[in-house]
C-alpha cells in the first residue's frame, strides 16, 4: 500500500471548477477514471501508442496516459462527458452515432475529442486533413471510413448546412 501522501489539485474539468486528491504518480487518465469516476476516457495501451485516451487540455489534444495528473493543475481539461450540453449532443457526437462511426465505441471518445480540436481550427477540413488529424488514433472496427464521414457531416452542420446528409452510397453502397 502506498504510504505517500496524496497530491491535491484544482483545475477546470468540462467547464466546472474541480478539486481532486490522488496518488501523485498517477496519470491524468488514471485520475479521471479512478479518482473522478469519469470512465468515458478509455485506455488502449497506456504507452501513448493508440490515441484512445485523448482528452483536450486548454483546447489541444493530449494523450492523458502520458500526462501526469499533477500537470493538469490550473488547466482546462475536456473529456467526452463534457461534449454534450443542455442543448443536446455535440454535432460530432450526433453524427458519430447516426452514421455508425461508433461500432464497439471504445475508441470513440478519443476520436471525438481529436476531431473536435480539428474542427475548432479548421471548419472545412478536406478528407486528407481529416486523415492526418486522426492518424494518431487507432480504430479496429470501422476502417475509419464512417469516422471520416461523420466528421465531414458534423463540420457541414457546424457551418450551418442544416440539410447536410451522408451520400446514399455511404449508406446503401454503390449501385
Amino acid at each position: 500500500m502506498s504510504n505517500r501522501q496524496k497530491a491535491h489539485i484544482r483545475f477546470t474539468l468540462n467547464g466546472e471548477e474541480t478539486e481532486v486528491a490522488f496518488a501523485p504518480h498517477k496519470t491524468l487518465l488514471e485520475v479521471l477514471r479512478e479518482d473522478l469516476s469519469l470512465t468515458g476516457t478509455k485506455h488502449g495501451c497506456e504507452l501513448g501508442e493508440c490515441g484512445t485516451c485523448a482528452v483536450l487540455v486548454d483546447g489541444r489534444s493530449v494523450l492523458s496516459c502520458l500526462m501526469l495528473g499533477l500537470d493538469a493543475e490550473d488547466r482546462r481539461v475536456e473529456t467526452v462527458e463534457g461534449m454534450a450540453t443542455e442543448d443536446g449532443l455535440h454535432p460530432l457526437q450526433e453524427t458519430f452515432a447516426d452514421t455508425g462511426a461508433a461500432q464497439c465505441g471504445y475508441c470513440t471518445p478519443g476520436f471525438l475529442l481529436v476531431a473536435r480540436e480539428l474542427l475548432a481550427q479548421n471548419a472545412s477540413p478536406t478528407r486528407d486533413e481529416i486523415k492526418e488529424a486522426l492518424s494518431g488514433n487507432l480504430c479496429r472496427c470501422t476502417g475509419y471510413i464512417k469516422i471520416y464521414e461523420a466528421v465531414e457531416l458534423a463540420a457541414a452542420r457546424m457551418r450551418g448546412e442544416a440539410d447536410a446528409a451522408l451520400p446514399e452510397e455511404s449508406i446503401y453502397g454503390c449501385k
Binding site: 500500500m1 502506498s2 496518488a23 477514471r33 469516476s37 470512465t39 468515458g40 476516457t41 478509455k42 485506455h43 488502449g44 495501451c45 497506456e46 504507452l47 501508442e49 493508440c50 484512445t52 473529456t79 467526452v80 462527458e81 454534450a84 449532443l89 457526437q93 450526433e94 458519430f96 452515432a97 447516426d98 452514421t99 455508425g100 461508433a102 461500432q103 464497439c104 465505441g105 471504445y106 475508441c107 470513440t108 471518445p109 471525438l112 481529416i130 486523415k131 492526418e132 492518424s135 494518431g136 488514433n137 480504430c139 479496429r140 472496427c141 470501422t142 476502417g143 475509419y144 471510413i145 464512417k146 471520416y148 452510397e169 455511404s170 449508406i171 446503401y172 453502397g173 454503390c174 449501385k175
Partner: protein, 828 residues
C-alpha cells in the same frame, strides 16, 4: 406464423419462402432495410457505455497475474510467502488452488487457470494476487518466487512434427501433433486424369492477432449469499458460464455471467479465459469484488488469433478453368493450447468448395502444439489462410491458361441451392453479381495487365458461413433463444444471450421485433448477454448472430403478435387476417381508423391471456454430411464476396500502397444497410492489415518471446494506410435468414489478402505467396527475378509426415449419401 411470411423472388429456382419477409397484409417493411442508428449508439458517443473496466464496486480489490518468462519449463517450486505478507495483499493463489482443467472445446480441456506443474509459453500465468490497489498488487506479484526447470522449446511447425519429446501436452495424435485429419471426397485420381493442367503451389500465411482496442477485463463478486457474478468483456458468456461452474466446482445456477459491451472482439474474446476464473476464485477467497484489467502486453499473450498456416494446394483444371480436382494440405501452428484449434483445423479445409465447383476434393490438415501463445478464432476463423492460397493459385491458373481471372471465376460458380462434394448445402449464392459489380466498378477490363509497371489490379473471391451449423457441445437444444416481455404500458423488452461486440447485434434484435410488432425500434428495451436474465445464445462467433438471434427474435415477436391480434380482433370485431401492426397501432387494413394503440392492444391481450411473454428459438437445419468431421463447415447459409484491389508497388523500396478496393458482398438482405456497410469497410480494413503488415512473430533464438507485444510495433493500418473502399451490396434473400439476411461481419475480409497479392503480381510481375506482403519480401522476389530465378517469395515445401488413411466419402454426384465409406483393411 404464416401471417408474416411471404414468398420472395429468387430468380431461376422460382419462389422460395423467406422467413418474415414482409407481412401478409402487403405493407412495406418499416424498419428492416433502413439505416437506423444503433439502439446504443448515443451512449457510446457520450461516454456512458460501461465496459468491463469501467465497473467499480465498493471494497473492490485489484488482481495481477504473474506470468512465465519461460517458454517451456517445469515449475519446481513457487514461494508466495513474501507476497502474501505484503500489507494490502488479501490473497495469493497458484495452480494448486484451481486444479480442474477447462477449455472451449470438449475435446481439448487442456488449460488451467494458473499453470500446474508446467508452463507452455512466455506469458502463461502461474500465480495471482488480490490487493487493495493496483500498485500493491503489482509489488506483490513481483515478490512471488518461482523456480523453473527449462525444457526444450518447440517453436515451429517443422519442429513440432519432427520432435516428439518433450511433449507440450500428453494428449493429441502423437508427439507434438495435436490433430491430424484426412478427408477424401470422390475419386481424386480420376479428377486429375481429366485435367488439362495440374498445378502445385505452396503458401504460408503468418499468424496475426485481433488487437481489440479494449484490453480484456473482468470483475467478479462472490456475494454473501454465495452467488457469484462476473462481468467480463467476453463474446461468449455461455461458455464462460460453463467454464466457471466446472473449474470452481459450483452449481451453474449459482453463477451469473454478464458480458459487458465488448470494446472490439474479432474472435479474441471467444474463449473462456484464465483471468476470468482467477478473479472469481479470488473473490470467493476474499469475499470482496475483484477486478482484473489486462495490460496491452497481456492481451498479446491471450491471443487466440489467426493460426500461422503452411499450405500446399494441388489443383487440376480443364482448359476453360473448370476445376476437376483439388488436393489441399494445411499445417497449423497452434501455439501452446487447444483453444478452438480442432475446429480451426477443419475450417482450413472446409470452405474451398462453396465458391467454384470442385467435383472431387481431398483435405489433409495437421495442427501442431508449439511454445507460443495459443491460436484460435480470428475473423474468418481458419478460412482466410486457405482462401488466400486458393485465390492466388487460381490467378496463376488463369494466367497459364490465358484466361481473364475474373471471367474464369464467373464461369465456374457453384450452383445456388446445391450440395458440394464435401456435403455443404449452399443456399442463395450472389457471388456472380459480386464479381460483375467489382469488375465493372473498378474498370477491370481496361486495367488488368494493362497498367504501367508498378501499378496493378488483382481480383479474388470468397465465402463464409452464417453461423456454425453445429454447437460446440453437441445437443438438440436451440443455438439461440429470445424471450419477449410486453407490459401493459406498451413497453417491450427483448432478452437474448447474444453479446454486442460492436457489430450491432443488440440493434438487430430491436429492429426485428419492431418490424413484426409495428413499433419503433427505440421503444424497445434490449437486455442481452446475462446468464441470469437471458435465454442462452451460444455467442458472438462464426457470424451466427444476425441469422440465429434474428430468427429467434422473429419467432418470439410473431408469437406475441398472434396473441395481440386475437385479443384486438375480439375487441374490435375485425377478422384477424385484417389486422395490421404499424406506427405503434393495431388496425383494420380495410378501415385504418378502426384500431387501437399498441399499448391498448397489450392491455387487451394481457386481460385475455394473462401476462404477455413469448419465446422464440432457433436451431439450424441438419447438414447432409454424416461422416466424422462433417461438423465443421455446415451452415444455414453462406455469404459471398468479391474484391478488386488496385495497388502501387515501388520497385525501389518494395513498399506497396493499396489505393482502392472495390468489394461486392452478398448479404442476402440488409437488416440495416448502414451497419452492413460498416462491417464491410471494417473487414476490408482488417484484411488490408493482414495483407500488408500484421504479424505475430517471436524471437525463436531468444526464449520465444513475442517480438513486439505493443500497439506501436505490432503494425496495424492507421488512417494514413487505409485505402479507399467502394462497396456494392448484393441482395439475394436466403430462405434461412431472417428477412433473407446473411452474415457480413467476417466474409468481406477474406478476398482482400489474395486480391492484394494478385495485384502486386500485376504491378511488378512477382509472386509473394505469403502473408503479410512486406517490402523485403517483394524486394527479395524482384532480386530473384532480376537474376533469372523464379520471380517469387514464399515457402518451398511442406513437411513430410505420415497421414492416417483417408476417411472416404462418395460425393453427391457419385451417388453418395453423406456417410463415410467402410474402411478397407489394407494388407501389405
Amino acid at each position: 406464423m404464416a401471417a408474416s411470411e411471404e414468398n420472395a423472388e429468387r430468380g431461376a429456382a422460382g419462389k422460395l419462402k423467406v422467413n418474415g419477409a414482409g407481412a401478409a397484409d402487403g405493407r412495406d417493411l418499416k424498419v428492416v432495410g433502413r439505416p437506423f442508428r444503433k439502439v446504443d449508439a448515443r451512449s457510446k458517443c457520450v461516454g456512458e457505455t460501461r465496459f468491463a473496466d469501467d465497473i467499480t464496486l465498493p471494497r473492490m480489490l485489484v488482481c495481477k497475474m504473474l506470468r512465465s518468462p519461460e517458454p517451456h519449463a517445469l515449475i519446481k517450486s513457487i514461494d508466495t510467502s513474501k507476497a502474501a505478507a505484503l500489507p494490502g495483499v488479501l490473497a495469493v493463489i497458484t495452480g494448486k488452488d484451481l486444479p480442474i482443467p477447462y477449455g472451449i472445446l470438449p475435446v481439448s480441456q487442456d488449460e488451467h487457470p494458473l499453470c500446474v506443474e508446467r508452463v507452455r509459453f512466455v506469458g502463461d500465468p502461474v500465480a495471482a494476487v488480490a490487493a487493495v490497489d493496483e500498485d500493491t498488487a503489482f509489488d506483490a506479484m513481483n515478490l512471488i518466487e518461482v523456480e523453473y526447470e527449462r525444457l526444450q522449446s518447440i517453436t515451429s511447425i517443422e519442429e513440432a512434427v519432427g520432435i516428439d519429446e518433450p511433449r507440450i501436452h500428453d494428449y493429441g495424435d502423437h508427439g507434438n501433433v495435436h490433430k491430424k485429419v484426412h478427408l477424401e471426397f470422390g475419386d481424386l485420381e480420376e479428377g486429375f486424369a481429366e485435367a488439362d493442367l495440374i498445378r502445385e503451389d505452396v503458401f504460408f500465411y503468418e499468424g496475426n492477432t485481433h488487437l481489440p482496442m479494449e484490453q480484456h477485463a473482468a470483475v467478479a463478486h462472490f456475494d454473501s449469499d454465495d452467488k457469484l457474478t462476473i462481468w467480463s468483456s467476453t463474446q461468449t458468456p455461455h461458455y464462460v458460464h460453463r467454464a466457471l461452474a466446472k473449474t470452481l466446482e459450483m452449481p451453474a445456477a449459482h453463477v451469473r455471467v454478464i458480458a459487458t459491451p465488448n470494446g472490439g472482439g474479432f474472435g479474441g474474446k471467444s474463449d473462456p479465459f484464465n483471468h476470468e476464473i482467477v478473479v472469481a476464485k479470488l473473490s470467493m477467497l476474499t469475499r470482496r469484488p475483484v477486478k482484473i484489467t489486462l495490460t496491452r502486453e497481456e492481451v498479446f499473450y491471450c491471443h487466440r488469433g489467426r493460426h500461422p498456416v503452411l499450405m500446399k494446394s494441388r489443383i487440376g483444371v480443364k482448359k476453360d478453368g473448370s476445376i476437376t480436382a483439388l488436393d489441399f494440405h494445411s499445417f497449423l501452428d497452434g501455439g501452446a493450447y487447444g483453444s478452438y484449434g480442432v475446429a480451426s483445423t477443419f475450417y482450413t479445409g472446409a470452405l474451398q468448395t462453396v465458391t467454384y465447383d470442385v467435383p472431387r476434393y481431398r483435405f489433409r490438415g495437421l495442427r501442431a502444439f508449439t511454445n507460443k501463445p495459443p491460436c484460435g478464432p480470428k475473423r474468418g476463423h481458419g478460412t482466410p489462410q486457405p482462401r488466400f492460397g486458393l485465390e492466388v493459385q487460381l490467378d496463376k491458373v488463369a494466367e497459364q491458361l490465358g484466361l481473364d481471372p475474373a471471367e474464369m471465376r464467373l464461369k465456374h460458380l457453384v450452383e445456388p441451392y446445391s450440395v458440394t462434394a464435401n456435403y455443404l448445402r449452399v443456399g442463395s449464392m450472389g457471388l456472380g453479381k459480386c464479381i460483375e459489380k467489382v469488375v465493372e466498378g473498378s474498370g477491370w477490363k481496361n486495367k488488368f495487365r494493362q497498367l504501367p509497371y508498378g501499378r496493378g489490379v488483382g481480383v479474388a473471391c470468397s465465402s463464409y458461413i452464417c453461423g456454425a451449423g453445429l454447437p460446440i457441445y453437441w445437443n438438440n437444444m436451440p443455438h439461440s433463444g429470445v424471450q419477449l416481455r410486453l407490459d401493459r404500458q406498451g413497453g417491450v423488452c427483448v432478452q437474448c444471450g447474444s453479446t454486442d461486440i460492436g457489430q450491432g447485434s443488440d440493434s438487430v434484435l430491436a429492429y426485428v421485433v419492431a418490424e413484426v410488432l409495428g413499433i419503433d425500434p427505440f421503444d424497445i428495451r434490449v437486455v442481452t448477454a446475462d446468464t441470469d436474465l437471458t435465454p442462452v445464445d451460444l455467442g458472438s462467433y462464426s457470424s451466427r448472430v444476425t441469422l440465429m438471434t434474428g430468427n429467434a427474435a422473429l419467432q418470439a415477436a410473431e408469437r406475441a403478435r398472434e396473441l395481440l391480434t386475437m385479443a384486438v380482433s375480439e375487441k374490435l370485431g375485425v377478422p384477424v387476417e385484417n389486422l395490421s401492426f404499424a406506427d405503434r397501432r393495431v388496425f383494420d387494413v380495410e378501415n385504418p381508423e378502426t384500431g387501437v394503440t399498441f399499448a391498448e392492444a397489450v392491455v387487451l391481450a394481457e386481460s385475455k391471456y394473462g401476462t404477455i411473454g413469448t419465446v422464440g428459438s432457433y436451431v439450424p437445419p441438419r447438414s447432409p454430411g454424416k461422416f466424422k468431421g462433417a461438423g465443421v463447415g455446415p451452415s444455414p447459409a453462406y455469404s459471398y464476396s468479391a474484391a478488386v484491389a488496385e495497388v502501387e508497388v515501388d520497385a525501389e523500396t518494395g513498399i506497396v500502397t493499396v489505393e482502392k478496393i472495390w468489394i461486392g458482398h452478398d448479404i442476402g438482405r440488409s437488416i440495416n444497410p448502414m451497419l452492413v456497410m460498416g462491417q464491410v469497410e471494417g473487414s476490408v480494413y482488417m484484411g488490408l492489415g493482414e495483407a500488408l503488415m500484421e504479424e505475430m512473430i517471436y524471437r525463436a533464438n531468444r526464449n520465444v518471446v513475442h517480438k513486439f507485444p505493443s500497439l506501436l510495433e505490432y503494425k496495424s493500418p492507421t488512417t494514413m494506410e487505409m485505402c479507399d473502399v467502394v462497396t456494392y451490396l448484393i441482395e439475394d434473400p436466403d430462405p434461412n435468414g431472417p428477412y433473407g439476411a446473411k452474415e457480413v461481419g467476417q466474409g468481406p475480409l477474406l478476398p482482400v489478402m489474395p486480391a492484394v497479392a494478385n495485384a502486386v503480381y500485376d504491378a511488378v510481375g512477382v509472386r509473394v505467396d505469403e502473408v503479410p506482403i512486406t517490402p523485403e519480401k517483394i524486394l527479395s522476389a524482384l532480386r530473384a527475378k532480376a537474376k533469372g530465378d523464379e520471380p517469387r517469395y514464399g515457402p518451398a515445401s511442406i513437411p513430410e509426415v505420415s497421414w492416417p488413411d483417408p476417411l472416404k466419402v462418395l460425393t453427391p454426384a457419385e451417388g453418395g449419401d453423406g456417410k463415410e465409406m467402410p474402411r478397407v483393411a489394407v494388407h501389405s
